[in-house]
């Protein structure tokens, strides 16, 4: 097997991976950086983020405001030292991106413009129309081309981390073009593999978001933290799940039930505010968990509009007018018009909550380090945790920058601290074992299970039992089912046994990642007998700070369900309080 020697291997070339690569290249041009991704960098799902990135920049705002919004928005499950770091670094990172050419939208005087976003008390979301993630990704990718030390391995699928002597020393990856396995021998590894929304059938997430990065670390013994917290974005197109950004409401769009009532006022987010004059942190600018939960209750009451794709609420943007919609929300107009045949300029758009983001992920600390020496993680695949039980919109684009950079700097420090040279023979043996595991997929005959069949069963299980509201019965059922699916996964036989760009193999491996992540989600959700943020239990409706002001940690087991244990939340200055999104709070 060909071995590639490098100093730092980065798995994933979206926003976090690219930011880490640039930080490493700037920190030490002598470091060899291998940027490994299963897709070309500009295909990474960062490109689909629409609304923007939060960072304090305007004079009426403060770091404390951003901190308080984030910690309260996360229902006090955030680690507050990490949030302090995030809000402090955010403006610098967003300015840095501006210096690299990001086409942020501007005010008439040439300063960067900001827009209101859900759960944020001040306007602090930097945006580039409604393609903010796209522009961030392309700015980072194009900037990365300046650095000769960043060597890209595009369309390489990482299969295993190589752990020896108690530390991570590289990975194995399949070059899609040839089907050949490569060993990357690295002094440090950064995982930046993105989320896992594809565990669910109805999601804003692209096809590539299958939890591969999370599963890599999880199988290598690193716990997955707070996996039960899955964010539903309130406004997805009902047929395709395509995201209509929260900026629709930031710009003044309103949500109606089938009777034309702005129903959020009936769920602690009122009183009603004037149409077209959005007020921060209330009504349509409430946080995503609360808005999605209000939808669920209205649906139970029969107040939603039945459509062929399920019950919907209406997102009404007509009063914004064609000019504002074209300037501020061009993608939204294009998506709604072409995929649903509804033009937001002339009609309210039917939407429903859709799986969007994993608050949980690989256990990392404020330095983006995992408990496994030599392994770092950043972005959606990691849980540092700044999002707690519910992420505020526009904090995650900031997170990939702040903690992507941090992961790069920490890895550089770690490499400089002079880890002992690896045992080449031991590492090669581990790589060979990883290769053998993949080869066995090709050699298997008489398998009874299909990839598409198992995937569908997994998705149905997750949608029915791990959605906006959950219960012991449903979650127990899901845990049992996922255990069964993991066993049946061993019976998958590939239809395609050739080498070049084998997407049958790719989908089999992705399914394996998703099954492991899904089991961590349901097991953590079953064990958390309280309701907090995006994790709502019908049988335990209150938040329980005595027992659960703690992070869940799911530990992998190859054949049994994960073991769950807990770690206290880091509190620096904000004691748990009441999340108040009524317009009366000041």
């Amino acid at each position: 097997m060909e071995t590639i020697q490098t100093d730092v291997a980065i798995i994933g070339a979206g926003g976090a991976g690219l930011r880490a690569a640039i930080a490493l290249a700037e920190a030490d041009p002598q470091l060899r950086i291998a940027l490994i991704s299963k897709v070309y960098p500009m295909r990474s799902h960062t490109c689909a983020a629409e609304g923007g990135a939060a960072g304090v920049i305007k004079p009426d705002d403060s770091l404390d405001h951003h901190f308080n919004d984030t910690v309260g928005g996360g229902d006090w499950l955030c680690d507050q030292d990490a949030v302090e770091y995030l809000v402090r670094e955010a403006p610098k990172e967003l300015i840095q991106l501006e210096h690299w050419g990001c086409p942020w939208s501007r005010e008439p005087n040439g300063a960067v413009a900001v827009r209101p976003f859900g759960g944020m008390k001040k306007q602090r979301t930097w945006f580039a129309a409604d393609k903010s993630g796209f522009h961030i990704l392309h700015t980072l990718f194009q900037t990365s081309l300046r650095f000769p030390s960043i060597q890209r391995f595009d369309e390489y699928y990482a299969t295993d981390l190589i752990v020896d002597d108690g530390r991570c020393q590289g990975c194995t990856a399949i070059e899609m073009r040839s089907g050949q396995m490569r060993q990357f021998q690295a002094r440090a590894v950064i995982v930046a593999g993105g989320g896992a929304g594809r565990m669910f059938p109805f999601t804003t997430n692209g096809a590539i978001k299958t939890g591969d990065g999370m599963a890599l670390a999880y199988r290598a013994g690193v716990p997955l933290k707070d996996m039960e917290f899955v964010q539903y974005h309130p406004t997805g197109l009902p047929n395709t799940g395509t995201l209509l950004t929260e900026a629709c409401r930031g710009e003044g769009g309103i949500l109606l039930n089938k009777n034309g009532r702005r129903f959020l006022q009936d769920y602690g987010m009122g009183p009603e505010t004037p149409v077209g004059k959005p007020q921060l942190k209330t009504m349509e600018l409430g946080p995503r968990d609360r808005v999605s939960q209000a939808f669920w209750h209205e649906q139970k009451k029969g107040n939603m509009l039945p459509t062929k794709w399920g019950d919907c609420m209406l997102l009404d943007m007509r009063h914004l007018g064609e000019k504002t919609i074209n300037e501020r929300l061009p993608l939204v107009r294009d998506m709604a018009t072409s995929y649903l045949g509804v033009d937001p300029v002339t009609d309210p758009v039917p939407v429903r909550p859709v799986v969007h983001y994993m608050m949980g992920g690989i256990d990392t600390d404020i330095r983006a380090a995992t408990p496994l020496a030599g392994l770092f993680a950043a972005g959606e695949c990691a849980c540092v945790s700044i999002n707690g039980a519910n992420r505020l919109g526009s904090n995650s684009l900031t997170e990939i920058l702040v903690f992507g950079r941090r992961a790069g700097l920490s890895a550089a420090e770690y490499v400089r601290s002079g880890a002992r040279p690896g045992n080449d023979a031991a590492l090669a043996a581990k790589a060979t074992a990883a290769q053998a595991r993949i080869r066995s997929l090709f050699e298997k005959t008489g398998g009874k299970e299909s990839i598409a069949g198992l995937r569908k069963e997994m998705m149905t299980t997750m949608e029915e039992n791990a959605g906006i509201y959950r219960s012991r019965d449903g979650l127990s059922e899901a845990c049992k089912k996922l255990g069964e699916l993991r066993h049946r996964y061993a019976e998958v036989e590939l239809t395609d046994k050739t080498n070049v760009y084998n997407t049958d193999l790719l989908q089999a491996l992705e399914l394996g990642s998703m099954l492991d992540c899904a089991e961590a989600v349901t097991a953590s959700a079953l064990a958390r007998t309280e309701s907090r943020g995006a994790h709502q239990r019908l049988d335990f409706v209150e938040r329980d700070d005595t027992k659960f002001l703690r992070h869940s940690l799911a530990h992998f087991h190859s054949s049994d369900p994960p073991r769950i244990d807990y770690r206290d939340v880091v509190i620096t200055k904000s004691q748990p309080g009441v999340r108040d999104y009524s317009g009366d709070h000041e």
Binding site: G206, Y339, V500, Y501
Partner: protein, 243 residues
Amino acid sequence: MFELEVLRYNPENDSEPHFQRYSVSCEEEWVVLDALNRVKETIDPTLSYRWSCHMAVCGSCGMMINGEPKLACKSFLRDYGGVIRVEPLVHFPIERDLVTVIDDFMAKLARVKPYLIPKQEKPVSEGEYRQTPAELKKFKQYTLCINCMLCYAACPEYGLIPKFIGPAAIALAHRYNQDSRDGGRDARQEEIAATEGVWECSFTGACSEVCPEHVDPAGALQQVKIKSTVDWYKEHLMPWVKK
């Protein structure tokens, strides 16, 4: 039922590409990509193609649909009658089925120095560069390229002269040249004003016609040509005038 005729090629088994016919049941509002996914899930797991976002922003799923370069996620079945023919983007080597080799494009993108080369360096602590909405508008359109390469498949020159640096890469260079914060035009000019740069373009405008993001690379190419011509005159006929 919809009929798809899909180009298949597996270098390990096939001496040359061939077509395979699939009949697949689809919803009326589906796109071609949905139909391909249905084929892969229910009929033929060996069919290979790239896709991810399903919202025309990741640029993965460019392919020839009934002979035209299109994004499969933005090509609606309702707009086609009869058999829909799906092939990999032309002008690129086929890696496998609908997957093309895009090394050439990736190398060209890097060659035009597609990053900000600031007029004057400024530390982050001094805040953002000022840029008015009017200044932003001068280049904003060219930032919207998703690198889907439909313009390369549409470009007759790229088909004839593979060395031609091509529409998207030149539009991207132009994007930075037009940015009020940038001072790197001279550094980029070497690549894009070379013979295989803008001068190969015969201005058929096909690139702009197929662009799913309305980037108008043809417009960028024309502007670069004009500016390069002015440069030439300044350099050769009026050396006393500074560029």
